[in-house]
């Protein structure tokens, strides 16, 4: 019997594909975010309000993943920004190969690429898509224990967006408790409270996006300048 040491990540093929995407987006200065949340957490609603607020001067595109249907792409296309649907036909997450395939032939430069993952708090966590950051969405109707029950995604996400805060008067959801739980798993996680219905918190979210996008763009420019020397 011969024993061969491997010592590689099981998903190293996915990681390699993600690295190619990351390199391309870095060169182009495109900020890429991977939005993850349960089915019904409000990912598409947040994206609708986001696209609505970003003018056509912002080069923004969306990849939206679902197991079946192009309902989300059709919802999102109404705002005048390019949108592509990824239908996974059963897979519970997006992987880097699906993203790479759907990025082929994308028109021109993008400032921002938003990827809406398949509704699921578990599996999407394992697959790097070449994003700059994962953003986890948690609706106030889901309960404040979620960061403890699904620690993986809350540990890996830079930002937690609490959604549907307009429903707080009608549900027993303890805002302070959810903040404590999230920070127990990930002390540095940023938190924004939003409502796609009333618009509360959306300015803060757009501000967060703009700051991140500017940072990414500045980094790309510095690298071009550096390479030119």
């Amino acid at each position: 019997m011969t024993r061969v040491a491997i010592e590689k990540r099981v998903l190293s093929e996915n990681d390699a594909e993600a690295a190619v995407i990351r390199q391309r987006l870095r060169r182009e200065g495109t900020l890429c975010l991977n939005l993850i949340g349960s089915p019904g957490a409000g990912k598409t609603a947040l994206l609708e309000r986001t696209l609505e607020r970003l003018s056509s001067e912002n080069a923004v595109a969306v990849l939206t993943g679902d197991i079946q249907t192009d309902c989300d792409a059709r919802r999102l296309m109404r705002y005048g920004h390019p949108v592509r649907q990824i239908t996974t036909a059963g897979a519970c997450h997006l992987d880097a190969r699906m993203v790479a395939r759907h990025l082929e032939g994308w028109p021109g430069h993008l400032d921002l690429l938003l990827i809406e993952n398949v509704g699921n708090l578990v599996c999407p966590t394992s697959y790097d898509l070449g994003e700059d950051a994962k953003v986890v969405l948690l609706s106030v109707t889901e309960g404040e224990q979620k960061p403890l029950k699904y620690p993986g995604i809350f540990k890996k996400a830079d930002l937690m967006i609490l959604t549907k805060t307009d429903l707080l008067p009608y549900v027993s959801f303890d805002l302070e408790r959810v903040r404590t739980n999230a920070r127990l798993i990930h002390p540095a996680i940023e938190i924004i409270e939003t409502s796609a219905t009333t618009g509360a918190g959306l300015d803060e979210w757009i501000g967060w996006l703009a700051a991140r996008a500017a940072g990414k763009q500045a980094q790309a420019e510095r690298e071009v300048e550096h390479a030119g020397r």
Binding site: V4, A5, R9, V10, E13, H93, C123, S126
Partner: protein, 88 residues
């Protein structure tokens, strides 16, 4: 929930590792699964059994080491080298 996908990735990785050893067969694979990896060890075992038991390559023993982290790694592979013993 995505253990079947993970099991398929393990098989693909094994096939890549076996490229330098044509005619040889993997009999055992050791995988490290972190507690925070979001992968259920028993479900992974079930999926890997399901996709290997009737395959040409035959049964594959799976050793799972649970560790504290979010890693999901292939540790090592054992290859059946009966052929080598016969010729020795």
């Amino acid at each position: 929930m995505h253990e079947m996908g993970i099991a398929c990735s393990i098989l693909e990785a094994i096939q890549r590792e076996l490229l330098p050893y044509p005619e040889k067969r993997a009999v055992k694979v050791a995988v490290r699964v972190g507690e925070m990896a979001g992968v259920d060890a028993e479900s992974l075992r079930f999926c890997l059994e399901a996709i290997t038991k009737n395959s040409e390559s035959g049964p594959l023993e799976l050793e799972i080491e649970i560790c504290r982290s979010d890693e999901l790694e292939l540790a090592y592979l054992e290859i059946d080298d009966a052929e080598r013993q016969v010729t020795a």
